[in-house]
Subunit: 154 residues, 5 copies
Amino acid sequence: MKIGVADTMFARVDMFKIVRKALDDSMEPGIKLERYTVPGVKDLPIACKKLFGKGCDICLALGMPGPMPIDKTCAHEASQGLINLQLAENKHVLEVFVHLDEAENDKELYKITKSRTYDHAMNAIDLLKGKNKLQKFAGQGIRQGTRDIGPLMQ
Amino acid sequence: MKIGVADTMFARVDMFKIVRKALDDSMEPGIKLERYTVPGVKDLPIACKKLFGKGCDICLALGMPGPMPIDKTCAHEASQGLINLQLAENKHVLEVFVHLDEAENDKELYKITKSRTYDHAMNAIDLLKGKNKLQKFAGQGIRQGTRDIGPLMQ
Amino acid sequence: MKIGVADTMFARVDMFKIVRKALDDSMEPGIKLERYTVPGVKDLPIACKKLFGKGCDICLALGMPGPMPIDKTCAHEASQGLINLQLAENKHVLEVFVHLDEAENDKELYKITKSRTYDHAMNAIDLLKGKNKLQKFAGQGIRQGTRDIGPLMQ
Amino acid sequence: MKIGVADTMFARVDMFKIVRKALDDSMEPGIKLERYTVPGVKDLPIACKKLFGKGCDICLALGMPGPMPIDKTCAHEASQGLINLQLAENKHVLEVFVHLDEAENDKELYKITKSRTYDHAMNAIDLLKGKNKLQKFAGQGIRQGTRDIGPLMQ
Amino acid sequence: MKIGVADTMFARVDMFKIVRKALDDSMEPGIKLERYTVPGVKDLPIACKKLFGKGCDICLALGMPGPMPIDKTCAHEASQGLINLQLAENKHVLEVFVHLDEAENDKELYKITKSRTYDHAMNAIDLLKGKNKLQKFAGQGIRQGTRDIGPLMQ
């Protein structure tokens, strides 16, 4: 099986390296990565489409949108494109976006990026294994990149 | 007949359990549930598509979007994808979203979640029975999750 | 010929009844109505698609979106879906949305609802008769539900 | 060749008449107009699609959206539909929207409407003649309806 | 190979000329340009589609959206259309938009326009050479038109 990984020049972290680490840690021998680097998040939908064209079973779309209103709009457009793509291909694309204004400093931002990318890489591996694999986490208030908020006190 | 139920790890309530309860209460013997858990609301459109691929006749898309502007955008993108999916599949997807900022405390939020999910599960069962089943409620100011507002005083 | 009428449980007026009245008043003997009731406005695109599947030549999508920002978003998503549907089906859907915050009181809101629904039902009948039927009203500042604003003073 | 012209009852100016004038002024003998009037801007995408179905080679979508936030949303939805339509048909639709809050008085608004409609009708005629026809205006800061802003001082 | 270049009359700089310069500087003998000028950014999606129809392998969509809210909406609609087009054609379109309110004066705006257009023309050439060509820039915080922000300090 093959995970497509689309990443950007715009991002400020080599997010692909984190996916590689997660896959290594997962000790899944049968999964390969295929990478495609594009300028920015708006190029991720077509990048993922091309990765599916190369036989990928699922994709990770990695990006770090900027802090300005125009950047939020770009991220929104990319997200809408990624959803459309999934419906056209009948395959998952896990969007891993870290917004450059999510943290107060570089160190914190790096930590979020590492954690969110790592967690979603693990999710992608689980989704490859079938539709019941993530069921045990349903309704658990899971967050990627920040602390899990947990289920509601009833 | 089969109802597809897509739910998320992000949600803070096991919303699937509520659907199961509604189906049990409905005493409809011929209806089965098929479940698919994904990370967050943006993964619900593809999850529902995959559920349709497994023979579901209608889907429930269960999610609990967060309170931040970015979460509202995510929910909007998911909703647009769910509408596109319905048109492509010619099948209903009832969206059951409970926003984490809808209530003042956890208890109230849980109550809304339970009620909205339960009510929409019942709606799904009715829609399976044909296009005239919900007609008696038309224009009645029905709300799911909160008190019905009722028809206008004329 | 057949006009599909999709309406909602969320609405606070039986808008279908107004369409029925307009059709009766029009004295068009050859036109039938087919009705489909769904929970809310986001279910209207798929409802209209199903009505087209039952042989309708045009649809009316009747809804009364709520007053909150989330309701505005829902209406927007529904509208986008209705436009996509029209392009896919090559058929008109006239959207008749009355926003619950459009009027200061229930009486006024009912009046708008009645007038807008009635007028658009008449428009639907005209559109069934061919593309030149509404031409005489072009550029006349016609409003449905409120007073016509009229053409610009030049 | 044939230019489709879709216009609305909502508009406050007979914009079609201005297109007719532009075509007459252009002295292009081989071009015909086909008109379709619909209630408002959200009906323009399907109107244009129907005009393409009648053999039009290009369309003008004429509308005058209102001044309220809801009107802006309607215009946005219409625009998105018009872009989708163009991609589906592989044909141009020039959108000619004049917002009712663009000018301070009726006289000014009429002037903008006349100028923008006229200019885009001329653009449509040029686009019918081939992809190089507008090249000489590229980067010139051309505006339709208001004064050209011109190229940047470098 | 052929790069399609769609540009606008609305823009205030002859952005095509900058693409031509970049291609000359690249010393790539086998790449040709095909140009299509349209009125504004909302016409860019169909322009790019027509360029793909003429055998282009990748497109640059060049535009300079205005400073008003309505202009931001236009740019957003164009962007969404460009993403949809890419997915339909399975080809890249690099969007090169310079917003007229990005700089404090004409000189600065020209500089951004020149740099962003030039850089994306180079990106287009690289993408034509294959999916691994931009990989060395991944996560480097690259910006087009303004100074690179660089990777995060970890």
